[in-house]
């Protein structure tokens, strides 16, 4: 005999939803800014650095040296958001730095034309990178590393190993050392670029599509997003911003010499990855990146003024990069797992 009775279905099905408490989430989002403030405060009171660290002059140095690195990190952000690396950004910036100087000193061109030509060169490097990666499906890692070596080699040939310091329009150097309310003008320029980058990444279909591509390129194609085109554009934008960073670097430093740009690139990458642990944890984002750049600059400056040797800043940058990558990888993975 069979007798089955089933209770009526309830109208709702309850599902366990994992939710991080708000306080924890806030703490996660703002841990990096908080840490930056703490590190700043620490060096203000640390006996070895307390004399020279908390001065207006030092703050200006921190923000000035920070500006160029922050610009490169914003450049790196665009390809990174769609999951592509660009290792040529440092070399790209060095290229525009050298070429702007070179156009003026070697070829006697006016300042504006030198800058425009350099920016075109920087953008072209992005176009070529994007072509290799999106059209020929080459590994972005190897492609941009190769590009970086190529650029460094060509620059060595162009400069003959010398530092270009003469024949540079003094207007550019005046611009580079201008301060407003004690803070270098270049820092405000970086903030302006950051604002633009924030706008493009979060408030345009282009930026939103980059995040979608980074999340799932196949699905992005299937919701009608122009994946190839937008990834290519991300390399072009990165090339342009890195080019601009090189011009600013020349304005700040007043001279240019060939190099592979590693001293610019690696702190910048550390800043981007640190940035992915803040504000919007697990995602590369503009304001996190800026805070990451400030954090790196504050720490390096504090270490230097406490009497640490030159190698200390390299060690710090290395540790910061590793820790940042570890943290942002962990956060990203836990997002995907759900």
């Amino acid at each position: 005999m069979t007798d089955t009775k089933t209770p009526p279905a309830s109208a709702t099905v309850s599902i366990p939803v994992r939710q991080t408490p708000t306080v924890l989430r806030l703490l996660e989002s703002y841990a990096l800014p908080l840490l930056t403030v703490l590190v700043y405060a620490f060096f203000c009171f640390f006996p070895l650095s307390s004399a020279s660290f908390p001065t207006m002059n030092n703050l200006s140095v921190i923000l000035g040296s920070n500006a160029v690195i922050a610009l490169i990190s914003i450049a790196a952000l665009f390809p990174l958001v769609c999951n592509y690396f660009d290792f040529s950004l440092g070399a790209n910036a060095v290229m525009t730095q050298v070429m702007t100087a070179g156009f003026m000193s070697t070829f006697g061109m006016p300042l504006w034309l030198s800058i425009v030509l350099s920016l075109i060169l920087g953008t072209l490097v992005g176009v070529v990178n994007g072509f290799f990666v999106t059209r020929l499906h080459m590994s972005p890692f190897v492609t941009t590393l190769g590009m970086s070596m190529l650029l460094a080699g060509l620059l060595s040939w162009f400069t003959g190993g010398k530092t270009l310091a003469s024949g540079i329009d003094p207007a550019l150097i005046r611009f580079g050392s201008t301060r407003i309310a004690g803070i270098p003008l270049v820092f405000f320029i970086t903030l302006l670029v950051a604002l633009l980058a924030w706008y493009f990444l979060t408030h345009t279909p282009f930026g939103r599509s980059l995040y979608a591509i980074g999340s799932n390129p196949t699905a992005a194609t299937l919701v009608g997003l122009p994946v190839t085109k937008n990834v290519w554009w991300s390399f072009i934008v990165a090339g342009f911003i890195a080019g601009a960073a090189g011009v600013l670097q020349l304005a700040r430093v007043g001279s240019a010499a060939a190099s592979d740009g590693g001293t610019l690139l690696f702190p910048a990458l550390a800043a981007v990855f640190l940035g992915a642990t803040a504000i919007r944890p697990g995602f590369f984002n503009v304001w996190g990146t800026i805070i990451g750049a400030v954090f790196v600059s504050v720490s390096v400056s504090g270490l230097a003024l406490s009497g640490a040797s030159g190698w200390a800043s390299s060690v710090f940058n290395g540790i910061a990069l590793l820790a940042a990558v570890a943290l942002s990888t962990y956060l990203g993975r836990s997002k995907r797992r759900g």
Partner: protein, 536 residues
């Protein structure tokens, strides 16, 4: 002999086969409770498995069956309950994966945990340890043992073959043999199969389950968790059905129909899973038509779909079902063929153009082709309407959330809110979000590729209702599916494809599921029986 009870959790009412003593039971869990952050996942649930039987644990997503399995595996701690395995009481406090292993539970999950590039014998040895001889490995001893095991489990394969080279059902069988390799006269084991057929095609899962059945006939106790009711029905002795963390049905030694099980699982929602019985909304206005479509596996297809019509496309794997949809959606261009959408020629160069023309596609492989796992539900929904949403140079997040909230409501998505991560939802709810993503664009032509694959019964009912609603509002719908029960329930008219051509056209109500099945299968045995179909 049948004995079915409704179990509102009363302790003594756990049925066993009449006359069974407790020692006939392999596994008994009773009064199982589990809370997740204040949500009841299990409420006085129970599960009683008899020795030497195949026992199916069924239920929709969120019903608590996965939670129960995870508690048994020692992955989640239970809040309360009693557990007996082979007459031995186990304390659920301090119960760990190691206890589960020791008590005789062996789990084979959907992800088999095999090393694809290593040989079968190495996969066995990596689990149980390499047998040693002197300073080296006793390869010959290992091979002898593995060969014997493979024969026992009806696997006619070389132990040296890499896992990758095996057919899918054999891979699962290897995983089962590996899990049970230390079973002997002294230790009985319980095999727990967690969605074993989810990644298998229909005929592969049949092959697998037949062998599992024969293992049970020889005394193996098996517990199966599966979405695919029909397969489970064929092999199981007993059934336990969960809903909302409670036991809503226990069927011992019975052979219920699929409909009856669905009824127990879904309760009132079951109505949506049946054919509506009328070709409700379809009228004679053609929305989309194609002639001479060729490309990929598709070798010349013509058809027309009308306003409000739900057209089914079915056929075996490789018949070209999905390819037809992909070509219409502009994923790749057909070699030849003329398409017409709403009276105008239609030849999309990419997905964007197809979307602009009012076409939408819900792809087959949700995880790979439609999910942005690390983004929120609201963001996932907005991605198909980015440029439409962009107003005055800004992306209006607040409006996106409001839209998301409305869609969550309309499509019955069970989720915390628009800001919940896509990955936090169950498969059925993810699929509803993907469907909602496209329906908000109000497409004229909706293409659905396996719309309820990996989706639980409750969500399937909701999804069917949404599809019917879309058709009722005038949308032309094409459903490509290998699930003939789905085709039968949903479609006004069905085209059967075989080797890239249409071989049959079936109107709703003229054939039942078995009739459709034989139409589809016949094409395999008598190829080109219908050289060219005549229709429209």
């Amino acid at each position: 002999m049948t004995d079915v009870t409704t179990n509102p959790g009363a302790a003594g009412s756990i049925p066993a086969a009449p006359g069974a003593s407790t020692s006939d039971l392999a596994l008994a869990v009773r009064h199982l409770d589990k809370d997740f952050a204040g949500t009841r996942a299990l409420n006085d649930a129970s599960l009683v498995v008899r020795r030497g039987t195949v026992h199916a644990l069924l239920g929709g997503n969120g019903s608590g069956k996965s939670t129960t399995i995870k508690i048994l595996a020692g992955v989640y701690p239970a809040d309360g309950g009693e557990l007996t395995i082979f007459d031995e009481q186990h304390d659920l406090r301090g119960y760990s994966p190691a206890t589960a292993q020791q008590a005789g539970l062996r789990f084979v999950h959907q992800d088999l945990g095999l090393f694809d590039d290593l040989s079968i014998e190495e996969n066995f040895a990596l689990d149980a340890g390499y047998p040693r001889r002197g300073p080296g490995i006793d390869w010959r001893g290992l091979r002898r043992r593995v060969t014997a095991l493979l024969r026992e489990y009806e696997l006619d394969v070389d132990p040296r073959a890499p896992i990758r080279t095996l057919r899918p059902s054999d891979q699962t069988m290897v995983a089962i043999a590996r899990a049970l390799q230390d079973q002997d006269a002294d230790q009985q084991l319980i095999l727990v199969l967690d969605e074993p057929t989810a990644r298998l095609a229909a005929h592969e899962s049949e092959l697998l389950l037949e062998r599992v059945r024969r293992r049970a006939d020889e005394g193996q106790t098996v517990l199966i968790v599966s979405h695919r009711l029909r397969e489970v029905l064929a092999v199981s002795d007993d059934f336990t059905v969960y809903r909302d963390g409670r036991v809503v049905g226990e069927l011992v030694g019975e052979s219920p129909t699929e409909d009856r099980l669905i009824e127990i699982m879904a309760g009132r929602a079951v109505q949506a899973l049946r054919p509506t019985g009328d070709v409700a909304a379809a009228d004679d206005t053609p929305v989309f038509s194609v002639t001479g479509l060729r490309g990929g596996p598709v070798r010349g297809i013509d058809f027309t779909v009308h306003r409000g019509e739900i057209l089914g496309l079915t056929g075996l794997v490789g018949s070209g079902r999905s390819s037809v949809l992909k070509m219409i959606f502009g994923e790749y261009a057909p070699d030849t063929g003329v398409m017409t959408l709403e009276g105008t020629p239609f030849a999309p160069r990419d997905v964007g153009e197809a979307m602009a023309a009012g076409v939408a596609l819900v792809p087959e492989d949700r995880g790979h082709e439609a999910s942005f796992m690390d983004q929120t539900v609201s963001e996932n929904l907005a991605l198909a309407t980015l440029s439409e949403n962009w107003t005055a140079g800004f992306m209006p997040r607040r409006r996106e959330r409001a839209t998301a909230r409305r869609l969550i409501e309309t499509f019955g998505v069970k989720v915390g809110g628009p800001d919940a991560l896509f990955s936090s939802m169950s498969g059925g709810n993810q699929q509803k979000v993907v469907l909602a993503r496209w329906m908000q664009r109000q497409p004229h032509l909706l293409l659905l590729d396996e719309p309820t694959q990996g989706v639980d019964v409750m969500s399937r009912a909701d999804i069917y209702s949404s599809i019917r609603r879309a058709a009722a509002e005038g949308c032309a719908v094409i459903v490509a599916s290998s699930d003939l029960a789905e085709i039968h329930a949903l479609c006004d008219r069905t085209l059967v494809l075989s080797r890239g051509k249409i071989t049959d056209e079936v109107a709703a109500g003229t054939l039942d599921v078995d009739g459709l099945t034989s139409l589809v299968l016949r094409e395999k045995t008598i190829p080109d029986a219908h050289p060219e179909a005549t229709h429209d």
